[in-house]
């Protein structure tokens, strides 16, 4: 009963502004599919096209192979959660949550008693049962967001569309809601498309994700695939916290050896890296990428592959993030709290060449991941 959603070559422009261009993807039945990208990437536009709020310039949207483009939003039976809550100010929380059931498609589906029970259950899951009689203006931002979410969850649509559904909740509740929301969607088996700028949400919740950047599709894959095998710099940068370190470098050949040489560092290539460079016939400028988790600090600077100076040391609870200045560039390193580095201390950075990523500077494409 879960539906498949096919998006084919979707394009939407607002005046001169291209919001999304030629975006195609398929969401499988019951799948939790995420759209990940910074603000302005085109996530909301994509969701709005699917819901029917926005009409695409070209392309097609199909639910179980049937195009929905000519179906009005209210008859598509898709349910949308907005980042901006969009609550009715004159209705109570319970009335807001029950409102979708008054839609033409839905009326008469549930008895008032069943309705009340459904609202109560949903409110308990969202930890807002005591708010049911309040009006939106009496709620905090996080509470409003949960009501907005609740309104989408009381019905059982064919498709959930969620636009940053938990962005405004505080950290602790957000963690809990990630689990709850995923569980609920999975238990109901309803196909879901979720838009978020937060990669942690994607990793925790999504079966697969699509990376959007400036309206363009960069890569589709499971979170782990995107993390381990990004096809380009944009994807590498979108997944991981703190983000991957990217340093410009060029190839230097000396004494039969191949080195990656950048400002303030030279790294000797191993056999594997050398063969990648040979086989791709790389002569151009490169970008050398390493995840903060894959780098370690050497207190004896000489023992590191790269040398730098401590810019800032930030303990974060059990672990710390050190920012190391390598020439003019800042490199982030996740390290043990005990490292306790002080500002302007000279340190070395160590990493295994197994874990580095190499990108072509011009195209941004990954040569080695």
């Amino acid at each position: 009963m879960s539906i498949t959603i096919d998006i084919e070559k979707l394009t939407k422009t607002f005046g001169e502004e291209v919001a999304i261009e030629d975006v195609s993807f398929q969401v499988k039945p019951g799948e939790l599919f995420a759209l990940l990208g910074p603000s302005g990437a085109g996530k909301s536009t994509t969701l709005n096209c699917i819901s029917g709020i926005v009409k695409p310039d070209s392309g097609d949207i199909r639910a179980d192979t049937v195009s929905v483009l000519d179906i009005k939003p209210q008859y598509r039976d898709f349910s949308m959660v907005f980042e901006s809550y969009a609550l009715y100010p004159h209705l109570t929380v319970a009335e807001n949550m029950g409102f979708p059931m008054k839609a033409p498609l839905r009326s008469g589906e549930m008895t008032p008693e069943e309705m009340k029970k459904r609202i109560q259950e949903t409110a308990v899951m969202l930890e807002i049962p005591e708010l049911l009689d309040r009006f939106p203006k009496e709620l905090s931002g996080g509470q409003k967001q949960r009501v907005g979410l609740g309104r989408a969850l009381v019905r059982r649509p064919k498709l959930f569309l969620m636009d940053e559904p938990i962005a405004h909740l505080d950290a602790k509740l957000r963690h809990h809601m990630r689990g709850e929301l995923k569980k609920l969607v999975k238990d109901l088996g309803i196909t879901t498309v979720l838009a978020t700028p937060d990669y942690n949400e994607v990793v925790a919740m999504a079966d697969r994700a699509l990376i959007l950047n400036n309206g363009h599709l960069e890569q589709i894959g499971t979170p782990i695939e995107l993390y381990n095998n990004p096809v380009n710099e944009v994807v590498a940068n979108a997944i991981g916290d703190p983000p991957i370190n990217l340093l410009d470098c060029a190839i230097e050949k000396a004494d039969g050896k191949t080195n990656l040489k950048g400002k303030g560092f030279t790294v000797a290539c191993d056999k594997k890296l050398e063969s990648v460079i040979e086989s791709n016939n790389v002569t151009e400028e490169l970008v050398f990428g390493m995840r903060p988790q894959d780098v370690s600090i050497e207190k004896d600077a000489g023992k590191g592959l790269i040398q730098g100076e401590v810019y800032v040391f930030e303990p974060l609870g059990g672990e710390a993030v050190a920012t190391i200045k390598v020439d003019e560039k800042l490199v982030k390193v996740v390290c043990p709290w005990e490292d306790k580095l002080s500002i302007e201390e000279k340190v070395g950075l160590n990493f295994s060449l197994e874990n580095v990523h190499i990108f072509d500077k011009k195209s941004g494409l990954a040569l080695y991941t």
């Binding site: 910074p38 603000s39 505080d170 950290a171 602790k172 963690h175 990630r178 689990g179 995923k182 569980k183 700028p197 937060d198 990793v203 925790a204 919740m205 979170p223 782990i224 993390y227 381990n228 997944i239 991981g240 703190p242 983000p243 988790q293 810019y311 800032v312 930030e314 303990p315 974060l316 609870g317 059990g318 993030v321 920012t323 800042l330 709290w337 500002i343």
Partner: protein, 375 residues
Amino acid sequence: MAEVVLDQVWKIYGRTVEAVKGLNLDIKDGEFVAILGPSGCGKSSTLRMIAGLEEITRGELSIGGKIVNDVEPGDRDISMVFENYALLPHMTAYDNVAFPLSLRGFDKNEIDKKVREISKLLDMDYMLEELAASLGGGERQRVGIARALIRQSSVLLMDEPISHLDAALRAKTRTELVRLQKVLGVTTVYVTHDQLEALAMADRIAVLNFGELQQFGTADELYYAPANKFVADFVGEPPMNFVHCTLQRKNGDIRLFSENLAFDITLEGEDARRVVPSFKEGKVWFGVRPKDITITASSEENYCGENLAKSLVLNFEPGCEHSIIEGKIDDNRILIQCEPNLTFKDDEIVYLDVTAKRFHLFDYETEKSILEQKI
């Protein structure tokens, strides 16, 4: 440069609303102190009293050794950065930054020199001629910070200065602020509700709840040796797990067990001696951070050992750097952080070692720590 001392400071609104209750803080010269707590804990009231924007109901506040309860805000030698930036929108970034100096009738050339200096430090030369209204959130905040710094006051006060910025910019600005404070060495009091920010930035952190000081210590002290359950719960992400259990003493050993015995462990030797002798027996909270739990077995057959801590898996969140299991020990919801390459199914039972790394014990009634912690 100056130290800031709060001695039994109270803030009472009206007759009965006690926002800050007998707060004692000694902030050293050049120190970066964060005041951390949930909304309504009294952190902003405290900052506003230091700034002179709120009257101190009772107690004494001194800055640089002088009692300043009755000194006007402008004469306290402090600067403040506000959450909402509070810039003059119709003026350029330059004029906003220069404002505190022009107000005091400084010479034009001297102002210019200082504005250029501070702009360079904050990497904002490029926006000086723009109107404040046309700047983005991160840029506005930098203008706000530059305006506060230009006076070179002894004390810098900041009220959630980066909470409005998006995640990436917030992390970047956080790093820059820490660096700036260390380089300038200005005594700084920083209010935030974000524990991560407090840990990352401050030399010491004062945790407030309901107007009362819960603990005042370094990030290490708060994280590794929380004084009570509130601090343990508030500091650290994901938050600490708590299991409600009973403590029994037996021949120098200590047995901890939950109501339905899904949790039944014995502390021996050194571990047992760390429980303060003044706590005899009774109900306690056992606390352990998600990353300090080790999964020892995922089936009864593989499970061996005398200590038992078994959890039902409610939800499994895979991750790239680590995965999270949301589980349940009896009725206590817990989170377990594990290696990214493992997978678990819902309704599976996992067996845990909860004492291999660091754990905590709190009196059930007072919620105070009853375990001596080494940091």
